[in-house]
Symmetry: C2
Subunit: 205 residues, 2 copies
Amino acid sequence: MEGIGAKAVSEPSVRPGRRRSTSQHELEAVAFELFEREGFDATTVDAIAKSAGIGRRTFFRYFESKNDVVWGSFTEQLDHMRERFAQRPADEPLMESVRAVVVEFNRVDPAEVPKHRRRMELILRVPALQAHSTLRYGDWRAVVAEYAAKRLGEKPAALRPQAIAYAALGVSLAAYEHWLAETDLQLCDVLDEALSELARGFVLG
Amino acid sequence: MEGIGAKAVSEPSVRPGRRRSTSQHELEAVAFELFEREGFDATTVDAIAKSAGIGRRTFFRYFESKNDVVWGSFTEQLDHMRERFAQRPADEPLMESVRAVVVEFNRVDPAEVPKHRRRMELILRVPALQAHSTLRYGDWRAVVAEYAAKRLGEKPAALRPQAIAYAALGVSLAAYEHWLAETDLQLCDVLDEALSELARGFVLG
DNA sequence: GAGCATAATGGCACCGGGTGCCAAATGGAA
DNA sequence: TTCCATTTGGCACCCGGTGCCATTATGCTC
């Protein structure tokens, strides 16, 4: 087992060597179960490992940290976001493209909404995960900044692309928090509203 | 020693009981020295405590965590920000008030700039501190959201105040990163530019 | 089927941040 | 001097995370 992320696409399905005894997916299920029952902080890695029938040491071969368990396939999904950006028409206003892509990026299968909600409750409300999230969001911002830079003819590291990426992330988080706080709201609607506000500089109605 | 933050203003200067053997300020100085020489991660709390001539256990009575050492008087400064907001004319456009206050909030005595720079380099570049910063920024956002809510006639927890606070924080961080990456830039200028961009929705320019 | 190369496992020892507990040290006041 | 309030710091402990390595499982070759 080399890296920890998703396995490369070109891995032969049959190889010599011992089979992996579990999967990120399975561990995630087991862990969420425990998080639900005991809370994130009160759930030790030992407990997750035991509950999944693996050694604690092995757990850390599937996830870099306990924090990372809740992120599912986030990193891989960022590729989808890049693709969506690539498909936006070049004559569309930049912030409009950002709005559209971010909203679509966060659209989840209705059946998955409850799970998504639990996941995001953890990420946005457990301090340890809240803190850790900053590191994950860095990749998200990089995708947005890269696109913004291309559209503006600037480098991704320049002020405006970075500011746009940071701001888009910020209002998205505000939208998520609002969605979590209320019941009966459509996440995409809230995101759309928040990103629209951003695009108009928070003025007018 | 009750809380860990700044002592309440009304503490009598002479009280019974053993004197405190050091101060947040002194520990900060000692710690920064070590962070500079060895790096943040390589500096253990043990080392800081030893270097300051106190016990490791005592360190945690002055700071909640090793991460908190780098934040100086951030929390107390938030009160100043609140005051600045209170002084803005009510007929000033909201985002203009935010821009003005945030820029002024981040104005530092020229003599303190190098120190501020080192501090922010740590916060923005060391992953552990980057992650932890989210929790500290939460208080910052609350101040902005509170003011925005008042101006908009909404609750602080509502979507728009939160989105504005998150977005203002975001573009400020972008400005900080840009300031750190370049030499010979005035922080306030960069912040002003970033927040102006935000106010106009990142169009024109 | 034996042996070999390959890969994952999981135990162990260790590190470092953080906490609860408590006896000892300090210093003002009666 | 005694008493009380307060801080100190050592100790044991918990937990996340890592380096190391012998063990185990598997496919392939002879």
